[in-house]
Amino acid sequence: MNTQPKPNTQHPPMATESTSRVPPARMRACEQTLEALVKDNPDILSALVATVDGFSVAQAPRGPASDGRMAAMISSLHALGTAVTSQADLGDCEDVLVEASNGRLLLIEISSVRPSLLLGVLARANAPLGVVLYASRQAAAALTAASLHAV
């Protein structure tokens, strides 16, 4: 079926999809909450907030904008969690926890904000899970408050 192979010259430029529809004031409020979370908890390496459809809203520590894929992956992961809990009649998916050899990823849906946001927290492998959960839930509550006040 292969006719005449030609060099492929038709690579379209990839559209950059880095912008979210979240107001700047809310993004700054999210960033401050995440910075406090990381600063106050040495076992937490980094944290990010994303929209449910995979756009990055804020991250800490602040770095190069390399978190676009992470935001998308968190969105997929949470959607799969929701699909699985629904399939198994377990109700709504709240948190997703990934245990890896070199760390933990905790994912919390902030559903009190509409449309809801996702908080992703990366922690050290030996971090006490209870501490990470508690700190992350506190941050989620702070993000809710910040989002409601900074629309």
């Binding site: 079926m1 292969n2 006719t3 005449q4 192979p5 030609k6 492929n8 010259t9 038709q10 690579h11 379209p12 990839m14 559209a15 999809e17 979210s20 529809r21 929209t51 449910v52 459809d53 995979g54 756009f55 676009g68 894929r69 935001a71 998308a72 992956m73 969105s75 997929s76 992961l77 959607a79 799969l80 929701t82 699909a83 399939q87 449309p115």
Partner: protein, 174 residues
Amino acid sequence: MQTTKLLFTGPMGAGKTTAIQLISEVTAVKTEVANLDRRQHNKATTTVALDYGELTLDDGAKVLMYGTPGQDRFNFMWTILAQGALGAVVLLDNSRPDPLADMNNFLDGFPDLVARRALVIGVGRTESHHRPSIESYTQALQDRGLLLPIYAVDVRERDDVLLLIDSLLSLAEA
């Protein structure tokens, strides 16, 4: 009995979720969330992980259908879902700004399937949007050294979706 995994891929709004939901015998698994990116496509929800459905063919063979997210930022899911797939249906939308670029983008996204020539192209909304013509798609494929089946389809029509699957399966058997 033989079980085959097929993919449905293509840009946002081309009808991947619709197609799988339409022909699946089991309640389709969907991972739709609120779509906040209304510039990309003005629809309420969008798939962020996968769609899943099942179909039994007349000869008893089972087809597992997986749908991918359409946006480039989810292309890690394309790689995950392509593992073990016999081939892919690329659904395009002629009402989008540059459907030929869309096609090339998705061909670039599935290099293994392109190498095996295991893809069929389904172009939607050709009745309201005549251009690009099917010939333009054929030409764009030829420019890449490819000859793949291309159909004008309406993914809300069961027969159209089945045609794409039949075409893909016979392509893979050839």
